[in-house]
Symmetry: C2
DNA sequence: TATTACATACCGACCAGTCGGTATGTAATA
DNA sequence: TATTACATACCGACTGGTCGGTATGTAATA
């Protein structure tokens, strides 16, 4: 028997194993037994903590969303120009990605699932909407402070997000000519210079 | 019994049904019976034309790649500036997308599959490499003709491709604030203006 | 009449989820 | 400080439905 652990800890341990397996094999090909084996636990134990495979996946998404929300922006928001804040977020995201690519590599899996599951689609939509609105606010702020041209902030926000999503493609098909950091930097600068007031 | 058809026609019909089903349910959740039912055929017939589910998926990718290669660039390449050619390709891609989003919505499915299947990964890599090199050539040409700044053409090519991939996210989570065309236009202009020689 | 295009009935591996049970805590009561 | 009572964490053999794939037969076509 494995050592006992409080549910709160064990759940997280399972979620992390699930992330690994879901990324490696994809949701449908992932076996509950694979996940359990990853941490030397039993199937019974897994079903003690999670009701079903889908339930586990939903919990994983929630766990995953938690990882991104506290992208420390507290002190940042004050004095600095929007440009720098956005750049900082982008760099920070790239760093997160480097540290644990799996958090990003599940995304296509979530998309695929969202495509056939209302609840999960709504969860994802919700997350993306909040990310978008955060960028929107930053751009709006930049416009008001005479930093950016009078652009459509919603669309620029989407451009930023799509660029960051490009990292996923990057991780999947690793072009070896250049680095992830270069890619992120260049893309952000293209966007930010593009909407900056010329002088 | 369904009317008989020459294999070449029937194969395509099956591939199109498969595309619909694979997009709707995802590869793993898609049932061979679903595909067959879609066109009122029998399972035996399907297995007469394709050896296995995986084989069908590979054939689908090949069929899918054929849809994109002949993006009529014949006459275009001659006189016009690279900027216009790239814009044209982008607009054309957006048009293709509008006509049949499914061709794009399979992409995440292909990525997911590529992640656990060497052969499919190589197919996809090959396709993306050729798309990238096409854009690269256009940008290089633009640089040589004094149209663009001396940028890293490989990276810009990737930016362009990622932007176009953004359409997929767009289709999945349809933001209703603005149109696909606007999104593509804006993104392309950001990139192209960003690398243009200022004057 | 040989071949191709299809239909139908069937097989069996596979796997999410179940369930009877055990082991380890913990806290109230005697 | 035992003892009882209950709760939580965990085990793993088992099952029932599912679904990719096959075997076999038949009608159309060349």
């Amino acid at each position: 028997m494995t050592e006992r652990r409080p549910s709160s800890e064990r759940r997280i341990e399972i979620l992390e194993a699930a992330l690994t397996i879901f990324v490696k094999k994809g949701y449908s090909e992932a076996r509950m037994d694979d996940i359990v084996q990853e941490i030397g636990l039993s199937k019974g134990a897994l079903y003690h903590h999670f009701q079903s495979k889908r339930d586990l996946f939903i919990a994983l998404i929630e766990h995953w969303m938690d990882q991104f929300s506290p992208i420390e922006r507290g002190g940042l928001m004050r004095a600095k120009p929007s440009r720098e804040i956005i750049l900082h977020i982008a760099k920070f995201t790239a760093k997160l990605f480097k540290r644990n690519p799996n958090w990003f590599l599940v995304e296509p899996e979530i998309w695929a699932f969202a495509n056939r599951d209302r609840e999960i689609k709504e969860m994802a939509s919700h997350l993306y909407a909040s990310v978008l609105s955060e960028f929107e606010a930053l751009i709006k702020r930049g416009i008001e402070y005479g930093e950016f041209r009078n652009v459509n902030e919603g669309m620029i926000a989407m451009s930023i997000m799509t660029s960051l999503h490009g990292m996923i493609w990057f991780a999947l098909f690793k072009p070896n000519d250049f680095s992830l950091e270069e890619y992120v930097d260049l893309n952000m600068e293209l966007i930010l210079d593009g909407i900056a007031i010329q002088n």
